[in-house]
Symmetry: D2
Subunit: 342 residues, 4 copies
C-alpha cells in the first residue's frame, strides 16, 4: 500500500514530529506540506533536524494544495480544522491533531474554547475500551490531547475495574514543546531552565473536560478531575502523577492485577516491573507509555504514574497509530517503543 499523506501545519512542533515519524513509515509517501506564515520557506530552515526534507518548500494551506492525498493531517491552531476538513472529500482520511473534534459535549467546548462546537470525531486513543473499533475504517479522527493521553491511559484501568472512587487528583509535568512554537515570554529558555511552575490551576486547563470524558466513560459514572499541569525544564515529555481514593477491599495486588490485565496485549503501553518507575527520558521520541502503580495503605489511595513523549504518543505518534488502524495497517507500523536515551 502507498499512502499519500499531506501535513497542514508542517512548521510547528506537532507537524515536525509527525514528519519525523512519517519519514520512516514504510507505507507512507509524504505529499504536500503547508503552513501559513511559513509558506514559501524551505523546511530545512524551520525543521533543521529533518534533513531528508530540507529542500521541501511549504505551501499555503488551501484545498487545492491538500487535494489528491489519501490522508491529510491537520496540525492547525484550535478552531481552524473544521473549515479545512469540510473542503476535503469524505473519502479522504482527515486526522485532526488539534482539539476541535475531541469533545462530545458542546457545552464543554464552548466553556473551555469560547466558540461554537464543530462536532465530534472518532477519538484516537485505541487503548481505551472500544477504542480500536471506533477507529477501524473511519475517515475522520480526533487525536487526543497530550495530557489526556497520559492521564487516561494511567487511570482508565482503575476506573474500568472499579478500583477507585470517582474523584481523581492529577498533577502532571510537561516539557515546553507542549506549549508549541509560539514565542511567549514565559517560554523563553532563560525563564524555563531551572524552573518549575504550574499553570491553569483550579480546573482551567482545556484538557480537563477531555480527561473527565474519558474517565467517566471508563468508570460508567461521572468522574471529577482535579488537574494541575506544571511546566518542567525539558523540551519533551509528560509525567502524570494520578491518584484516587481506593474503593473498599482494594489492595496493591488487586491494583497490579487490573493493570497487568488491561495492558497485557497493548503494543505501546508497558506496566513496568515492580520497583521501577517511569521516567520521561525513557520514552523520549518513542510511542511507548510507561506506567507504574502503587497502593498507599496509609492514605488508602491508588497512585498511578505514567510517562509519555508529549509529541510522539501524545500527538504525532498517536495520530499515526490511529491512522494505521483506520487504514487497516498493522497498528505499530512506523512506530516504536524504543526511546532515545540518555
Amino acid at each position: 500500500m502507498v499512502v499519500r499523506a499531506a501535513v497542514a501545519g508542517a512548521s510547528g512542533y506537532a507537524g515536525g514530529e509527525l514528519l519525523r515519524l512519517l519519514l520512516t513509515h514504510p507505507e507512507v509517501e509524504i505529499g504536500a506540506l503547508t503552513g501559513h506564515s511559513s509558506a514559501g520557506q524551505k523546511l530545512g530552515a524551520l525543521q533543521p533536524h529533518l534533513l531528508p526534507l530540507a529542500d521541501r518548500v511549504l505551501r499555503e494551506t488551501t484545498p487545492e494544495v491538500l487535494a489528491g492525498h489519501d490522508v491529510v493531517f491537520l496540525a492547525l491552531p484550535h478552531g481552524q480544522s473544521a473549515a479545512v476538513a469540510e473542503q476535503l472529500g469524505p473519502e479522504v482520511l482527515v486526522i485532526d491533531m488539534g482539539a476541535d473534534f475531541r469533545l462530545k459535549n458542546p457545552a464543554d467546548w464552548e466553556r473551555f474554547y469560547g466558540s461554537a462546537h464543530a462536532g465530534t470525531w472518532p477519538y484516537g486513543l485505541p487503548e481505551l475500551p472500544g477504542g480500536r473499533a471506533a477507529l477501524e475504517g473511519s475517515k475522520r479522527i480526533a487525536v487526543p490531547g497530550c495530557y489526556p493521553t497520559a492521564v487516561s491511559l494511567a487511570l482508565f484501568p482503575a476506573y474500568a475495574a472499579g478500583l477507585t472512587e470517582p474523584e481523581a487528583v492529577i498533577v502532571a509535568a510537561s516539557g515546553t514543546s507542549g506549549a508549541g512554537k509560539a514565542v511567549k515570554p514565559h517560554l523563553l529558555g532563560s525563564e524555563v531552565m531551572g524552573s518549575m511552575s504550574p499553570y491553569g490551576v483550579g480546573g482551567g486547563h482545556r484538557h480537563t473536560p477531555e480527561m473527565i470524558q474519558n474517565l467517566s466513560t471508563a468508570a460508567g459514572e461521572p468522574v471529577s478531575v482535579s488537574f494541575t499541569p506544571t511546566l518542567a525544564p525539558m523540551s519533551r515529555g509528560i509525567l502524570a502523577t494520578c491518584s484516587a481514593k481506593a474503593k473498599p477491599g482494594v489492595t496493591a495486588e488487586s491494583v497490579r492485577a487490573a493493570y497487568e490485565k488491561a495492558f497485557a496485549d497493548e503494543p505501546f503501553v508497558h506496566l513496568l516491573p515492580e520497583g521501577q518507575w517511569p521516567a520521561t527520558a525513557s520514552v523520549y521520541g518513542s510511542n511507548a507509555v510507561q506506567v507504574q502503580v502503587a497502593h498507599d495503605p496509609a492514605a488508602d489511595r491508588v497512585i498511578v504514574v505514567s510517562a509519555i513523549d508529549n509529541l510522539t504518543k501524545g500527538t504525532a505518534g498517536g495520530a499515526l497509530q490511529s491512522m494505521n488502524i483506520a487504514l487497516g495497517l498493522d497498528e505499530t507500523t512506523g512506530l516504536s517503543t524504543i526511546g532515545v536515551a540518555p
Copy 2:
C-alpha cells in the same frame, strides 16, 4: 553580637549553602569547618563557588574541633547527629540539619529510618502556629526537611482555618540537589537532564510522617497525606502542588482570605497576587516562599502551590532563620527574599 559558628559537614550541598549564607550574615563569624572523607582538603576544591573561603581547610568532625563555638550546625548523614550533639555542652546552640530530631513519635522514626529514635528537638519552622515561641532561647533546633517545609507552609493555613478535609494529596517536584552530593547513577547529569521521574511513591518517602505531624497539629485532628515526590531536571527548587477536598461552604474568597491572614506578617512567605503562580526560579537562592491558592469549583478542592529553594528556605536558610530567633536576633538577619533569576 559576634556569633561564632562551626559547620560539621561543610563539603556537602547543605553545608555549602549554609556557608554561602553565613558569609553575608553580619553577626556570624565562621569558625571550624569539618568533614569526614573530605577532611584535610581545601574548601576551594569542594565548594568552588565560595571564593572567600577557598583556602580554609576541612578538619575532622571531633568534639575538640567543634568546641569553642556559640553555634554548631550539623549537616551530617542521618543518625549521626545525636552522638555529636551529646558531646557539645548544653550552652552551645546545636542546629541539626538532618532528620534525627524532627519527629515526635518514635514509632514513625523507627518505621521510616530503621534505627532507635534519638529524641525530639524544637522544630525550626517559625511560620507554623506557635513556631517562633518554641525556638526562642532554645539550644537545640531540628531543621525541617525540604519537602515538609514547602508542603507544611502551603497547607497549614487551610487546616488551621478548617477549610479542608483531612486527606491531603501532594505531588512535589524537586531539583537534584535535594538528593545531596552522593554519586548515584540515577543522579548523573546524563540521566537527569530532560527527564522527570517519581520516587518513593505510595507513602514511602521519609518526609511523609513529618508532613503528617505538622498538618495534623495545624488541623487539630489526624491528617492523612498522599505524597509523591518527583525528580526534576534542575539543580535547585521545590514546587509543591498540594490539595485537599474543601469543607462545605468554602469558596475561593474564603480560601484567599485565610491565606492572606496567615501570611500577613510573615517576612519570608508571600501569597502572590491573584493570577500569578509560583515558580522555583523566582526563589532561587533566596529564603522566600511563594504561595498561591485556588478553589477548583468542579472538583471542589482547595489547591495550594508553593515554591521554595530546597537548599535555602528548605535547609540552610531555614536553619539560619531559626538560629536568629533562638539567639534573639532579628529573624531576617542575613536572609533575603530576593531570588537570583533568570
Copy 3:
C-alpha cells in the same frame, strides 16, 4: 552616603539583575524604575524574583521621571542612550549598560551597529591597566559588553606581559540571558535545552571590535581576534576559551607568573589553583571572575579560560563596581565573590 539611583529599562534581564544587586547595596536607595512597553505595570509581574520591589510601578522613561537622582542606569536598546543621557545634567552619574559609548573608533561603531556614533565614555572595566583611574570621579560610564568582559580579563595579562602573538582565537559559550528577554523563536526553551549552537561566526558579532580595542591597548600593538560565540543550554554564565600562539621562550611557569601578578590585588578576579578549571556555576550570581591558564607545549599556545556570570560581572555587577569607583566608595560595596551553587 545615600546614593539615589534610577533604572531606565527595569523590566529586562540587565535591569532586573541591577535591581537585585542594588537592593543589597548599603549606600543605594532605589528611585525611579522605568520601562517602555512595561510602563504602568508592577515590577512583581515582570521580575517575580524581586519580592521587596513587587509593588513598585514602572514609569515611562522621561527626563522628568529620571530627574532628581544621583545615578541613572540606562538599560536600554542600543542607540537610545545618547538621547536620554543628554537630558540628564552633567552632575548626574550616568551609567550606560548598552553598547553606545564603548567604542573609541566611530568607524567600528558604524560598521557593526549601522548608525551614527554617539561618542566614547570612560570604560567600566577597572581591572584593565589604567582602568580605575579612568573611572574615578567620572560622571559618564560605558559598561563593557559581557563577552568583552570575559575575554579581556582572560587575555589582557598575556598581552600586557608580551607573552602572546597578536592573533587571538576565542570561542565562548553564553547562557541565553545574554540575548535578553526579546521573544525570538531560537530562544524558546524547547529550542535551547539540549542544544549548543554558534552564531555571529566569522567576525560578525558586535562585541568583536570591543575585544580588539581592549587587547590592542594591552598589547601596545594591533591584535586580531577570531571570535565565535555559542549559545549554551543554561540561563546564565559565559565560559570563554581564549588562546594565542606563545612568543618564543614562554613557558607554563612564565604564563602563570604573569597572571598571578596581574590579579594579585584584584578583588573579583581569581586565578584558580593549578589543576582547577573555571565553571560558570561557580560564579552564578556573583561578581567573581574565575580564570585558569595553561601552556600547550605541543601546539605552543597559551590557553586561558575565564568564567563569569554574564548578568553580574558581565553587566550589572560590572556597572555597580564602576559606580562605586566613580563615587569614591569601596569598589566591592554591594558585590560579592560568592556564587550560588550547585
Copy 4:
C-alpha cells in the same frame, strides 16, 4: 542477509545506543549481550528506554558467550579490547568502540594511555579520504572517538584542499554522556546543569593525537592541534568550533566550494545552506553531521563548525556505518539523518 551481532558492554551509554540502532537495523539479529558488574541483570533495569529488550539478561563477557556471532561489538573500558578480540576468530567481524586500536603511533598510545599499544585496526571514519576502501571486507574496525569524529569531519576538507595552515585551534562542547555512565561527582546533575566548564586543557585530552593523525594525513604534512573540550549542560551532542589560519588567496567562496565538493556524495555529512549554523539538537539521535564554514576576513581564519550526536555518529552510529561497509551492505542501512527535535 542475517547478521548475528553480540554486544560486549551492553549496560553503558555506548552499548545502549548501539542496541537502540541495532533494534531497527533490518539485517541484524541481536545476540548475546554482556556486562561485567551488570551480568545477571535484566536490560530493562539498566536501559529502560529499550523496551523490546527489557527482559534480556546480561551475561558475563566470555569467549563462550561471544562465540557464534557474525559481528561482535566491544564497548569496553580502554585496554580491555585486545584480550577479548584475540579469543574471537579471524572470521568474526570485531568492532572496537574503545580507543585501543585507533592510533598508529605506539608512542602516542603510551603517552596518552600509559600502557602497551595493542595495535592498529582499520579506522571507522568512512568519510575521510580512502576511508571506505580501508573498511571494505575488513574483519577488525576501530571506531573513532567522538571528538575526533566531529573535528576530523570539520577540518579534513580544508587540509585536503590546502586551504589552511597546519595549526588548528579547536574548542568543542560535549554533552555529559560522552563521559560515560561512571558515577563521578563532577558528572552529577546538580553540578552539570547550568554550568559550562573545560577539562583536559593544554593538550591533555586523549583524543588529541587521534585528531592530529587524521588531519596530518589529510594535509600531507604534520598538523598541530590545540584542543580544548568543554562539558555542556546537555546529555548528548558535540559542537566543535574549529579554525585555522587561511593560506594566501583563500576566500569565503573557495572555502565553501571545497566543502561542497568534499561532502557532495556523503550520505551523512551535510554542509548547511549559507546563513544556517549547526545545532546539536538538530542531530539528536541521528547519524547526521551538520557542518557550516566561514572565512573571517579580519582574522584571516577559516572557521568550521560541526555538530554531531556523540553517541550516534560519534560512537554507535559510526560503528554501524562501518559495519555496513565491512559487510558489503548499503552504508546507510539502519541509520538515518533524521534528528529528534525539539
